[in-house]
């Protein structure tokens, strides 16, 4: 393992829930992450902001092991999960991800979307899984949609189901990958409300987002990504209120207009 320079002086790596150490990831000649380091402590909510192509999504996909990193290390509770040849499935049970395009299974009912991994991965009985699904659907106001198919739902409802599907596994870490980018503006609120409700429940969240107001409101820390590294990181009030890095200032000027 090659530990890169730790350019984010935040909670000590040992106590970190999720830790990226000098992670490099390239797709062909396109280097998406360069020597990327970040520590996130348990229960912390960290937002990743930055232009398209700055590497936000790739950071999340590397933590969930959907991408194999080229160099560096990804740690979960101090345990190196990115080693080559390691079974990714136990890690994925502990780290949930919600995608920009929902990615619900279109041939399954809402309830089955939620219970599939519960029965097949966690080995729960159909009844137990179904109870868990109903409980979560009720909590997020989707009870009457249990037996409906995804394409009969609005985008906002689909994304809420996708969040529930990830939550049903009781993950320790939840990765949210631009979860409102594919939604009509009037549907964004209902999805963000779900995330607001999750904050403080002890779950660790990494959020890649273009919703600056939301990032400011919900995050403990905000990272501004540029060219595959963290250009600036800090509390939302600092980063949005008094950005130090020139690139951050430029970016914020552009998105605020």
């Amino acid at each position: 393992m090659t530990a890169g320079p730790n350019n984010t002086a935040t909670p000590s790596a040992a106590a970190a829930k999720v830790s990226l150490r000098g992670v490099t990831k390239a797709f062909g000649n396109n280097v998406v992450l360069r020597d990327f380091s970040l520590d996130v402590s348990a229960g912390e909510v960290v937002s990743l902001i930055g232009a398209s192509g700055s590497g936000k999504t790739t950071v999340l996909r590397c933590i969930n092991l959907l991408e194999q990193i080229d160099d560096g290390a990804v740690l979960l509770d101090g345990d190196e999960i990115s080693s080559v040849g390691r079974d990714p499935n136990p890690v994925r049970r502990r780290v949930g991800i919600v995608f920009q395009s929902f990615n619900l299974f279109p041939h399954m009912s809402v309830a089955r979307n939620i219970t599939l991994a519960l029965t097949e991965v966690l080995g729960q009985t159909t009844d137990a899984a179904r109870d868990r699904a109903s409980e979560l659907l009720r909590r997020f106001g989707l009870s009457e949609k249990a037996d409906v198919y995804p394409d009969q739902l609005s985008g906002g409802q689909q994304q809420r189901v996708a969040i529930i599907r990830a939550l049903a596994m009781k993950p320790e870490v939840l990765l949210l990958d631009e979860i409102t980018s594919a939604l009509d503006p009037e549907l964004v609120g209902e999805v963000l409300d779900v995330v607001r409700e999750l904050k403080g429940s002890g779950i660790t969240m990494l959020i890649a987002t273009h919703e600056m107001a939301f990032a400011r409101e919900i995050s403990d820390r905000v990272c501004f990504l540029h060219g595959g590294t963290i250009a600036e990181v800090g509390a939302p009030s600092e980063l949005f209120g008094a950005p130090r890095d020139e690139r951050t200032k430029q970016f914020l000027r552009r998105v605020r207009m």
């Binding site: 995608f99 299974f105 991994a117």
Partner: protein
């Protein structure tokens, strides 16, 4: 218009009476029909037992070709060669080779039946085609579906079984039915190595009565089965188009 012209004009052609006698002899039709229907029953049976074999084989080949693990390279290579060879050689050649060749090895009854090995040859060739249909279906399921399934902790096999395959198979129902229509006709090729199915029976009748009407009757029997199957394929295809493409552009 064209049809009317044919109906009106053709019987006025010179020597129409000869044509009529040779191809459309009503007496001959009456005589041959029961025998041909009996013989067609064998075609139906061959069709019925090769179809499941084809689907199972084709699915295995398609899964082998879609495997991703580097260690499974030999499996992928075998599957690729299999589809190439099965599709690259004429069906009739496989039927001769396997249907005549294998019983010729001196196997015991009932394992030396040309009927059995002719059916095996059909299953082999058709599984090559159907495997490609399945493969296209599997490839058409978006990568993000796999990502979602894997991110929940499902193994690659569970992802295939619960998420990818059910969507893939639904999408390829129309092309699969198309292959079945084609198989339904190619079953007649087995007649070339001996079994008396409808085409062979028609040939026997033709030779006996020096009349081509039995072939016409056989053709009509085939059409009676393939046309409804084709219409069903069209219907399913249109239904799928409606479901997946949403709004249609006005003509």
């Amino acid at each position: 218009m064209v049809l009317a012209a044919v109906i009106v004009l053709v019987p006025r052609m010179p020597r129409w009476d000869r044509v009529k006698k040779s191809f459309f002899d009503v007496e001959q039709m009456r005589d041959s029909l029961p025998r041909l229907i009996d013989a067609f029953w064998l075609d139906v049976k061959i069709f019925a037992w090769t179809t499941p074999a084809i689907f199972v084989l084709a699915l295995l080949i398609a899964l082998a070709r879609n495997s991703r693990s580097p260690a499974l390279f030999p499996v992928r290579a075998f599957a690729a060669v299999y589809t190439d060879v099965m599709r690259g050689v004429p069906v009739i050649l496989w039927i001769y080779l396997v249907g005549f060749g294998v019983p010729g090895l001196g196997l015991e009854r009932p394992y030396n039946s040309p009927l059995l090995w002719g059916s095996v040859a059909l299953a082999m060739t058709y599984s090559g085609y159907v495997a490609e249909v399945f493969r296209a279906g599997i490839a058409s399921v978006h990568e993000s579906q796999r990502a979602a399934a894997r991110s929940l902790g499902l193994s690659s096999w569970q992802t295939m079984r619960f998420v990818v395959l059910p969507q893939a198979v639904r999408r390829v129902v129309p092309p699969l039915l198309n292959d079945l229509v084609s198989l339904q006709k190619d079953v007649a090729l087995v007649s070339l190595i001996g079994p008396i199915e409808i085409l062979r029976q028609a040939n026997i009748d033709k030779a006996k009565f020096a009349n081509f009407t039995p072939f016409i009757v056989a053709a009509l029997i085939f059409l009676a089965v393939t046309i409804p199957l084709t219409r069903l394929t069209d219907y399913l295809w249109h239904r799928q188009q409606r479901r997946t493409t949403g709004t249609r552009v006005a003509a």
